[in-house]
Symmetry: D2
Subunit: 319 residues, 4 copies
Amino acid sequence: MVKMKKLRIAVIGAGFWGKNHIRVLSELQQAELVAVCDVNEQRATAIAEKYGIKPYTSSRELYKKESFDAVSICVWSTELFKESMEALNAGKHVFVEKPMASRVEEAEKMLETAESAGLHLTVGFIERFNPAVVRLKKAIDEGEIGQPVSATGKRVSKWPERIGDVGVVKDTAIHDIDLMRYIFEEDPVSVYARAGSLRHRRFEDYAQVMLAFPSGKSAFLEANWLTPYKVRRLTVTGSEAIITIDYITQKITIETSNKTLIPRYEWKEPLKLELQHFVESVLNKNNLIVTGLDGVKALKIAEAILESAEKNRLIELSL
Amino acid sequence: MVKMKKLRIAVIGAGFWGKNHIRVLSELQQAELVAVCDVNEQRATAIAEKYGIKPYTSSRELYKKESFDAVSICVWSTELFKESMEALNAGKHVFVEKPMASRVEEAEKMLETAESAGLHLTVGFIERFNPAVVRLKKAIDEGEIGQPVSATGKRVSKWPERIGDVGVVKDTAIHDIDLMRYIFEEDPVSVYARAGSLRHRRFEDYAQVMLAFPSGKSAFLEANWLTPYKVRRLTVTGSEAIITIDYITQKITIETSNKTLIPRYEWKEPLKLELQHFVESVLNKNNLIVTGLDGVKALKIAEAILESAEKNRLIELSL
Amino acid sequence: MVKMKKLRIAVIGAGFWGKNHIRVLSELQQAELVAVCDVNEQRATAIAEKYGIKPYTSSRELYKKESFDAVSICVWSTELFKESMEALNAGKHVFVEKPMASRVEEAEKMLETAESAGLHLTVGFIERFNPAVVRLKKAIDEGEIGQPVSATGKRVSKWPERIGDVGVVKDTAIHDIDLMRYIFEEDPVSVYARAGSLRHRRFEDYAQVMLAFPSGKSAFLEANWLTPYKVRRLTVTGSEAIITIDYITQKITIETSNKTLIPRYEWKEPLKLELQHFVESVLNKNNLIVTGLDGVKALKIAEAILESAEKNRLIELSL
Amino acid sequence: MVKMKKLRIAVIGAGFWGKNHIRVLSELQQAELVAVCDVNEQRATAIAEKYGIKPYTSSRELYKKESFDAVSICVWSTELFKESMEALNAGKHVFVEKPMASRVEEAEKMLETAESAGLHLTVGFIERFNPAVVRLKKAIDEGEIGQPVSATGKRVSKWPERIGDVGVVKDTAIHDIDLMRYIFEEDPVSVYARAGSLRHRRFEDYAQVMLAFPSGKSAFLEANWLTPYKVRRLTVTGSEAIITIDYITQKITIETSNKTLIPRYEWKEPLKLELQHFVESVLNKNNLIVTGLDGVKALKIAEAILESAEKNRLIELSL
């Protein structure tokens, strides 16, 4: 009997989202969770005990003492770059949570480092793995909506207090930024945006964005941390039909001239599908669905959005 | 017994929409339909017979022979200016269908003429009279959605073959252009738009528009003559709730953090409410809900949209 | 040129519903509306004037003076028998509104009379002509829901004050009684019912009914004049899918294991389809979709329902 | 510091549903899971290992060797009586899954035994703890729908292969049977039912039931193991409004004359609420929401349903 190869992996950052990574990785057959690292010792110890893994409070220490293949990095946005570089320099394949880094320059450095070291580097654009998005992409690719004309992404909810080092564009709208490139299979050529802050002290808490694509398509993005009713929806309008998904319920609705169709599928946890893909891609040396370059481009667009909003002018993009 | 004063009115243009005007005016208690004018003699005669009114094929003739107070002008966009000027010069109060005129200069001339003659001039922005819009406006004014942040208007359907002299922006999106000013009670300060033609020979058949308002609010407008499933929806997102209306069913949905509320009202024909308001405003010398200035401003924004799309740049507005 | 044959028809009863008959008949190309008869002279005259037809206050007089082929009878339930007999005896084809008559014996007499005179006799089971019902029947016949197992009809609304001579079973539930026979293509063999009055003085204003069919299928009927929110829905559950229609919006929803499908159709006025069918059937000597026998059977079931509710026992039917 | 009192509990039966009991009990702060018992040794051992508890294959052995307060019994319907009696005779408080026992006589014996021994006995009517039912009951009690008139429960899905010792009435419809008594706060006085088998070899796989209540209210129940689309819905119609819940999504919809209201609540796991209530009631010697008598009555009604269907007659009940 051949023993299945498993990817040995550690998680850096055991906050709200890191805990989800740990839970999901512990359930994946092809992954072997080896350690967790968190600056908060109590948190690291508690979670390590629960999952029977080793706790660390310093990633440097982790790399020195443990032998493993990959890390998932779930720290604050401001720490993503430092932790990723350390992991890449330690020769680890890296799954880094969005927004990948605080600034484009950092993200580019990460990408370069990973490429020259021949390491896998992916970014946590989890929505690409959302079954509703997968089906929407498939429906569009199969011509079900005719020629795509425009897309509208809405992502609003009350301010998640745990996020204090980044605004709604880089934290939240970035999912839709990435998705628009993914769905239209084009890079936007210009961006116009409005953003501001109604409640947040340091960062923008709402943004409205229009992205223009070379083929003539446009995308509207709307994100805020104001509206207390959580909405996560995407609508793509085509020459023949309109397709709408709800990221939360994973419901997909296709409206054509003579019917409304709601295919029914089993709900699946996007994080599980996302981490499974990362684990398998590294193990099998396959291409990643989300590349480091996707992360760099999304960050470039996010920065253009913030610049456009600040200067109230159209920003041209050359990705 | 005091006899109720009635507004004597004629309709210019007996095409698809003009016929609706005639039907509705014939049902209004305060209006007395006196004549119809259409370049197509057969059409003029047929409709005149049905409603027991006088047919004309020339409006000049009409003004010479009949005595009345007001006209409703439902001709092609390219003829709206000429017919309106003729009516105003004949001393008639004017209800002119949108887009009011082909160009801003014409609309301004009409406004000037009406003002100096002390005549009522209104434009057919029928959606302001849609009960769903009335309730949405009231809900916003009463603070039900908190502070408005953004609005999205979607208006798509297959190309109405009867419209051949104007594109989707001036014909269709113009409703949303007007509504955004009405709902936000502000004039936009800049516009960025993308538009093009997938099927139409002469004019744009799709447009995506972003309007920026001085207070920081934004509006997305999406209009096309491509998607065969007819959608007419407006969503306003506020700091406390999201409100959505369907112009066709007049359904209104308010989503807050702890409930979805769908108030139920009787469906009412917007055209009837709109013409009734015009008739009463003229009879009672009251202010109009839609002024000639509203028409001029909407046309200015429409032209800025087309310019933005053509030059791919942000257009600043000074209304 | 051959002149199209038209059915000359008169309407007896110009109340709320009779007025609708008159309006619709006036629009049908194959019908020629000749007269209206109503005991209320003012009402008869007003409506006759509007449609350019002759007014009568006595149907006897009408039959004596006018020459025509058919009548539509829209009087109170208690008068349906008398008026129908008079019409049949005068040699007219008869469209009689539901519930056809006050009692089964009367209905049977009408049926007999029509049959021996070779006259068309139909009953106003308008829902059979509702496009949503037509589609539901077609979907079931084509096997889209597998084997039908059960059906549930709900028909509730506040008490229509104009109805004072009959209870909710014979007035309202009778539509569903007829539809269950029509959809299942079987006659029920037993009925169990509960009914009572919460607000109405003389008649039952709510009823819950269970009909058993020989094949094992069952139907639940629920009707009341209490609930102020008007609901008119039918659900048929099959071994493979569930199909639901809303009679008012004519929306049809098919739920299978892997999708919800909402076909989209143009809304059509059931009364127009119903009267058109009557007119054409008489003109072309075709079979009627709703026969006099259908009317008799529905009335028998309605009476069994009332008996079951009164005696609180199961009533066996032998139709 | 006072140490919190915990209820020591064991689970009998580690099949599909027993595993859920074990998982939930392991999460309850006031419960201490001590052992699991299953005739399948491998299954018992595997689950015991996962939760760090003791495995048994004989409940007799379990009662001899372990010291604890209560059991939750999740075995096949045919074994519920035997296992419950053994537990009660061993002096344990008992949570027994529905349908409580195979026959009324057994259930009555269990009730008697528990009462004379002063032990808590409850039945797994989990839907009473479904937050949607709790809210529906509250809404009705607070008069939001006026006077309740009727209720309709629909519970259909494809045949769950794991259930082979009982039909759809005692397994599935029994939830609605219990709920109707709970919601109307009355015992039904008669039952009429139709049931049969389209696919199942030994037991009925569909049933339609009408329950009559002394106050005049009625309930329709519909259950089957045929329709592949899983539906679990309850509608209560009142003199002022209609309230509908979906047991699965826990969505609640209230339709009144002037609005549709969908209150939004957090989804909660009914099994957790149910077991928590059992644990707390035993610990604090409080009354149970679902009593053994409720179980006996539900079983009596279920048997009356089967008798009615078999003999095709109305069965009078005297609960």
